[in-house]
């Protein structure tokens, strides 16, 4: 079947116009969300069971991570603008906003590595305490998602530079956007639970 061919969906379709790719990404997001829930809930359980728990602000650099949170919010905005651009057939806008998102994700990872470097220099290792274990495992798991997202964006950006997307063909960009926004959404919770509470 031609990719640009219009497919008429039944009116009572429970998923409306959502493609199988998009449904697949939603399914992945649900499963991945449960993985993050498992980590955060385990961290909370360990915290409740612990006799003492360090104050995050005394060990972690909260202002720097708050800036990182702001950065991730900005990349969510640029990602949704990339989709908005291609939905209007603006290929230059798509490439511009995807590039901004990729750079933002890269800076986020750079700041996270900088934070890890300073924490490790101060003797705060993965096995220092239960608290450090919870911190590194949760933030590193999220960091891996950001890294995957940056690699994923680079593939879509390459396809965009080949002119593969248009106002009638933007499904891949939408699916990429769902993943990236999920990474942002999870960070909001990780930041609150690990850094602020």
């Amino acid at each position: 079947m031609n990719q640009n061919q219009t497919v008429t969906m039944p009116l009572n379709d429970p998923f409306g116009k959502a493609t199988t790719g998009k449904l697949g990404m939603w399914l992945f997001i649900i499963i991945d969300g449960l993985s993050f829930s498992g980590l955060l809930i385990a961290g909370a359980a360990l915290r409740v069971a612990a006799n003492a728990w360090p104050v995050a602000g005394e060990i972690l650099n909260i202002p720097l991570t708050a800036f990182n949170t702001f950065l991730l919010i900005c990349t969510s905005f640029t990602m949704v603008m990339a989709l908005n651009a291609i939905q209007k057939g603006n290929q230059a806008g798509l490439k511009k906003y995807l590039t901004y998102t990729m750079i933002g994700g890269g800076i986020f990872l750079g700041i996270q590595v900088y934070e890890y470097y300073h924490l490790i220099s101060d003797g705060f290792f993965l096995n220092t305490s239960i608290y450090s274990g919870v911190f590194y495992v949760t933030t590193c798991f999220h960091g891996m998602h950001v890294l995957s997202g940056v690699i994923y964006i680079s593939f879509i950006l390459y396809a965009a530079s080949q002119g593969r997307y248009s106002e009638n063909n933007w499904n891949h960009v939408e699916i990429l956007g769902l993943f990236w926004h999920f990474v942002d959404l999870v960070w909001i919770l990780v930041f609150t639970v690990i850094y602020l509470i």
Binding site: D13, P14, F15, G16, A18, L23, W26, I30, G33, L34, S37, G38, I41, A42, A44, A45, L46, V48, A49, A50, N51, G57, I62, P63, A66, T69, F70, I73, C74, S76, F77, M79, V80, M81, N84, Q87, K88, I130, E167, G177, L178, H181, F182, D184, L185, I188, L189, F191, T192, V193, Y195, L196, I197
Partner: protein, 92 residues
Amino acid sequence: MNDYKSVYIKNAIWLTILTVLEVGIAFIDIFRTGQIVLLMTFAITKMMMVALIYMHVQHETKTLKWILFIPIPAGLLFTFALMYDIPFRWVV
């Protein structure tokens, strides 16, 4: 195709404002339980804003919305099960 650019910009601004407020709340010296409730409320609000506006969940069908809702009670169930278990099994 509708242009939602202004909605996306407003959403980003509100997310930033809520993040600044969150950091402020974390640093002020108030009743601990109240602080946790406030911080979690802010976090859930921000997550809803990302899901509804940036992920366009508000435009999805009812079936998909229900499917996306399923992990929330599952997560709460895991939490309560684990918390209930703590006094009986773990000493850290």
